[in-house]
Subunit: 110 residues, 2 copies
DNA sequence: TCAACATTTCAAGAAGTGTAGAAATAATAT
DNA sequence: ATATTATTTCTACACTTCTTGAAATGTTGA
């Protein structure tokens, strides 16, 4: 992930509704979730607002979409999220690995 | 780091000048850098623009400041950056550790 | 105390972002 | 064909953010 992509990702995640969408999609797993279900989960059902935010996230590369019958199913882009984590980690250790200490330790899933 | 703090951090990092400031400060290490030096490094010297962005970053908890004689010295808040990385990592693995795979691997400094 | 330096605060305008409702598109079922 | 369901696109407006220049604040040295 390069700087422009990271900027876009940060901008996408800096909005409550969008951050919620990403979390919901991450929980949903690789199968993804239809727009309607996402809307219900984040409290923006059937609205143009949802489309707006989903579009923003897709633009930033944090989610992908596919049509499935009547539904449009969104999925978290795990690779992009990982790339963002790497970007931050790199930034934080830049030239001074000793500073970050615990940051360089493995992060495990709880 | 909780959700509101993460939102503020993402918002702070979603701006080119501010992202540059953070990178410069991380490189500078724990001694930090005076506002003037930061301004030169990021191409916003002697401007109120710089203050605006530094204030934004400080508000988000990503940098701290202290007066040193005539200078005001800013330092990267490494703990906050680490907290943000943890937040993202947690989000990404939420309920589905097997999904993230490589994300759960140790991140090392290069 | 006065002058110079480093940085911030203030005020105003331009640009960008988020929200809401109505109309448009796409797929399915009758 | 028509109606129904799912979602997006369009338009307009309120709100926030970024930038700029001028004035104010705090610190040091002569």
């Amino acid at each position: 992930m390069d700087e422009p992509a990271a900027l876009a990702a940060f901008a996408a995640l800096s909005q409550e509704t969008r951050l919620r969408i990403v979390r919901v999609l991450v929980e949903a797993g690789p199968d993804g979730l239809a727009a309607g279900a996402i809307g219900e989960a984040v409290g923006a059902a059937g609205s143009s607002r949802l489309s707006f935010h989903l579009g923003h996230l897709e633009n930033a590369g944090l989610v992908t979409s596919r049509r499935e019958g009547r539904f449009i199913v969104y999925t978290a882009a795990y690779a992009a999220l990982g790339g963002l984590i790497d970007f931050l980690t790199r930034d934080c250790c830049q030239g001074h690995p000793e500073i970050c200490g615990p940051l360089a330790a493995p992060r495990t899933c709880t």
